[in-house]
């Protein structure tokens, strides 16, 4: 009996030693390099970035949510307005520097260098070689020892809502705040679940998204992009989900034929932009007969709600409430 | 003397319209040959073949016994120079630069001008009396002055054969006679187109008459340019005569 007791004690001792050792090691923050695939390139984040240039309010929000706002050395709003940001997160951004723009909404490489940044966080087209809204190319950044990171939802095949979770997960990995990230992901997931629960089993309504006006028609999401999935989850069928691209132009004729029940208007750079878009579409004589316009079934989304961000689930709820008033008023 | 320039059975047509029909002419070395004929007779086209702006086939044109179709354009340019009406150039060159271009056939692509070239150019300008204008812009000169410069360019080319493609038609009577006598004094082989019978009589040693693409007469000017020729070919009523100083001239009555 004594032998067994000592053996047990020994085992417990070893186990606790191991546990302590393991926690000591993981708390050390001895950052092992994290490797992520960014836009097809394998980027290794050897050190935890300290000075991040962030492009776009939605990305600054992500940083603030994870308590990383101190690491943001400066940002530009991209195509969003501060009014679109969650107030409690906006507060955290009070002390953050707004950087000068080289092209609308976007800072230049010189600014990135001048700020002594060690990471740039933006969307894919902020890093593409020939993009007109380029901040800097991946090559340029890597040559200057600056880590690039592009929002997961801004590239790839038919991204769905889980890109928002992936985004937080990636940020968690890069900044070694995996636990905090996991917590926030859980909160978001339950939000998503509760909204989608209510929509179970109901027929989707048809909708057309008025992104912005183009020369030959109106820019709208096609079937292969994030926005298409956003609508689906809100119980709306994108009338142009047959378009084989993430965005394309719909002509007035096509809109008339599709006869959507709802129209979603997006507001980006300026307040009141959505109202202008409504005025515009109502002024087109040939579209007067479209059901959404006849009944003024309009839904307004902010740009931040429309692109991958923390707001997507609120957006889904907003759209769902409008389109399925009957369900929600029960 | 052998023929120095020989054109042999030259024919030319543009989209089934015949312009030259088996034309043969010759010029001896040092001879001043005139080509006359009404408009559309093919005179200019004939000359263009000789100075190679129009392509030439084998056995058509010989210079000093050599078939020019086998010569490079550069070598032809050492033998033949052309004076035409060139009044407007796209760019403003100076007189000296224009005449210097006459040395091109003698320089390789990468060679630049040397002392000898300058001497030749200045001599040419002196001969035509334009040496004082060497730094003037070509475009600022009068018609007669321009033509003298172009003649200097031809002289600088040091070619034996001078082709004159109506270079003085637009100039006043002084220049028409003065330039022609300058050329005559060079004692080079000249083939020239004329509209003016009197110039032909004064300067040519030999004349060819072209009509509708064929040679209809040839010989010494006084013999060829006669009343029958005037009426039949040139459709004017005219008479031969002599001036008090003894020069043969033609007097025109009227168009027929």
């Amino acid at each position: 009996m004594k032998k067994n007791k000592s053996l047990l004690l020994l085992l417990i001792l070893i186990a606790s030693l191991l546990l302590v050792a393991q926690s000591v090691y993981s708390d050390e923050g001895k950052a092992e390099a994290v490797t992520l695939n960014v836009m097809g390139e394998e980027i290794t984040y050897e050190k935890i970035p300290e000075k991040v240039v962030v492009v776009g309010y939605e990305n600054v929000e992500n940083m603030a949510l994870l308590g990383l706002e101190d690491k943001v050395v400066g940002f530009t709003p991209c195509m969003y307005l501060p009014e679109h940001v969650y107030p409690e997160l906006l507060k955290k951004m009070d002390n953050l520097k707004v950087l000068p723009e080289v092209v609308r909404g976007v800072p230049g490489m010189e600014t990135v260098l001048a700020e002594g940044a060690d990471m740039v966080y933006g969307q894919s087209y902020h890093f593409a070689e020939a993009s007109s809204t380029k901040v800097a190319t991946l090559k340029d950044l890597l040559q200057n020892n600056i880590y690039p990171y592009a929002t997961v939802g801004s590239y790839g095949d038919s991204p769905d809502l889980d890109v928002v979770y992936k985004e937080l997960e990636n940020l968690g990995k890069i900044f070694r705040v995996e636990e905090r990230a996991a917590q926030e992901i859980e909160k978001l997931k339950s939000k998503q679940e509760s909204v989608e629960e209510k929509l179970k089993g109901f027929e989707p309504k048809t909708a057309f998204v008025f992104d912005f006006q183009d020369k030959t028609g109106i820019m709208t999401p096609g079937g292969t992009g994030f926005q298409n999935n956003l609508l689906k989850r809100a119980g709306l069928k994108n009338v142009f989900d047959n378009f084989q691209s993430d965005f394309d132009v719909a002509t007035h004729e096509q809109i008339l034929l599709a006869n959507p029940e709802y129209i979603v208007f997006i507001e980006y750079f300026t307040a009141g932009e959505a109202d202008e878009k409504i005025e515009y579409i109502e002024s087109i004589p040939e579209l007067q007969g479209v059901e959404a316009i006849k009944n003024k079934n309009y839904i307004i989304l902010t740009g931040i709600e429309y692109f991958p961000s923390l707001h997507n689930f609120d957006a889904i709820e907003k759209m769902a409430r409008e389109a399925h008033k009957d369900i929600f008023e029960k | 003397m052998e023929e120095y320039v020989k054109v042999s059975n030259l024919s030319y047509a543009i989209s089934s319209k015949e312009i030259l029909n088996n034309v043969s002419i010759q010029a001896k070395k040092g001879q001043f040959v005139g080509i006359v004929g009404p408009n559309g007779s093919g005179k200019t086209t004939l000359l263009r073949h000789i100075y190679r702006v129009l392509p030439v086939e084998e056995n058509q044109i010989y210079i000093d016994g050599r078939d020019i179709s086998g010569l490079s354009l550069r070598d032809s340019a050492k033998l033949v120079t052309v004076m035409r009406q060139e009044m407007d150039f796209a760019f403003d060159y100076k007189v000296l630069e224009i005449v210097m271009l006459g040395r091109s056939p003698h320089k390789k692509v990468y060679q630049s001008k040397n002392q000898e070239d300058f001497k030749i150019v200045l001599d040419a300008l002196n001969y035509v009396g334009m040496a004082d204008y060497k730094d003037e812009f070509f475009s600022n000169l009068s018609g007669g002055e321009k033509q003298r410069v172009l003649m200097a360019r031809s002289l600088a080319q040091r070619a034996e054969i001078f082709i004159l493609d109506e270079p003085t038609n637009h100039l006043d009577v002084y220049y028409q006679w003065h330039l022609m006598s300058l050329i005559k004094d060079l004692k080079k082989t000249v083939i020239s187109v004329f509209h003016d019978f009197n110039l032909t009589l004064e300067f040519c040693d030999y004349v060819y008459v072209l009509n509708e693409g064929s040679v209809v007469a040839q010989g010494e000017p006084e013999k060829v340019l006669s009343v029958g020729m005037f009426e039949e070919i040139f459709r004017v009523s005219a008479e031969n005569s002599k001036t008090t100083a003894g020069h043969s001239r033609v007097m025109i009555n009227q168009a027929l």
């Binding site: 593409a128 020939a130 200057n144 | 150039f89």
Partner: protein, 353 residues
């Protein structure tokens, strides 16, 4: 008295080379220090001295050094090369066509490049990360235009119509490829891609880095030297095809040679900086007015003046609306318009263009 012309020619060239080198140095330094992000002048000079004379690595000296030396300096050098190269190409095209309205793009090179760049966006989307792809497509597009114009436009006999034929063929190819490019742009599904394709062609020197300077710089210099050596031929052909033939030149060989070399040079320049217009047209004209039409002086002087001109515009484009950057081609257009107006005045006064 025997060699007045050549000595004064050589004198002008030597003096202008000296002046050019001095001005070029000034402009490059100024352009490196000035820009959106402010750099103190003294610090800028210090950094330059350290990098050039002591071989210090800009990346070790701080981010302002990186901006100045790794980003702005290459842009200035590219400006000198592109401005010079386009001016020289413009002179050559004007001589070949005997027309002062010609520029390097009249044979459709920029249309070909823009059509292929649009095509490149269509295939690869706008999320390209490989820096070589778009420039390669631009160059191929220019070569495509050259091949089309060469095969269709090189015939014709000399007495007057071969130059016209070349110009008309060039215009036709330019129009067709332009339309094709525009059509492809409308096929691009994404507004961003459409915008990027259009903006690329306006021209920008922002992609200049030390690693991609060699090709445009060497091409401009080599072609300028080459043309200067055979400058006599350009004088000849600029008098007209028939005249050139009577003075012994094989004009179709000359036309072909110039076409190919201008196309390759312009293709390289377009692929490094987009299609920057007006330089290839304004500079030859201006230099001719100031220094005369003799190509022996014209080519080198056009190279100098064109390079310095574009370098100054480059600095302006970064400083005027800092930190915003206006594409350099748009700035050049601002100069082009008034220049045309000035030409009209001149024609009214002197009767000549």
């Amino acid at each position: 008295m025997n060699r007045p012309q050549s000595t004064s020619s050589s004198k002008i060239l030597i003096w202008s080379l000296i002046v050019y080198v001095l001005l070029a140095i000034v402009v490059v330094i100024a352009g490196s220090i000035l820009g959106g992000v402010k750099i103190d002048f003294a610090r800028g000079v210090q950094l330059l001295v350290d990098t050039i004379f002591r071989g210090a690595d800009p990346m070790a000296q701080g981010n302002d050094a990186v901006i100045m030396i790794n980003m702005r300096m290459p842009r200035m050098i590219l400006a000198l090369a592109v401005g010079g190269g386009l001016a020289v190409a413009g002179c050559a095209m004007q001589a070949i066509t005997q027309n002062v309205l010609a520029d390097p793009y009249i044979l459709g090179l920029s249309s070909g490049a823009s059509a292929m760049v649009a095509f490149c966006f269509l295939i690869f989307g706008s999320l390209l990360t490989n820096p070589l792809v778009v420039p390669l497509f631009a160059f191929l597009g220019a070569m495509l235009a050259m091949v089309l114009v060469y095969s269709l436009g090189m015939g014709g006999n000399v007495s007057g119509n071969s130059t016209n034929r070349l110009i008309l063929t060039g215009m036709a190819v330019a129009l067709i490829l332009n339309a094709l490019g525009q059509f492809i742009i409308t096929l691009l599904p994404n507004a961003l891609e459409k915008n990027s394709a259009a903006m690329w062609m306006w021209g920008s020197l922002s992609s200049a880095r030390w690693s991609n300077l060699a090709l445009p710089v060497l091409s401009s210099i080599i072609v300028t030297l080459l043309y200067t050596v055979i400058s006599d031929r350009f004088n000849l052909i600029s008098l007209g095809e028939s005249t050139a033939v009577t003075l012994g030149m094989n004009t179709s060989l000359m036309r072909g040679f110039v076409m190919v070399t201008v196309s390759i040079l312009t293709g390289v320049l377009i692929s490094s900086s987009g299609a920057i217009g007006f330089v290839g047209y304004i500079i030859p004209h201006t230099v001719r007015m100031l220094f005369g039409a003799d190509h022996k002086k014209l080519f080198p002087l056009a190279f100098f003046v064109g390079g310095l001109f574009l370098a100054c515009i480059e600095v302006l484009s970064r400083v005027l609306l800092a930190p915003k950057e206006v594409p350099i081609g748009i700035f050049c257009a601002f100069f082009g318009g008034p220049f045309f107006v000035y030409l009209i005045f001149r024609q009214n006064k002197t009767g000549r263009l």
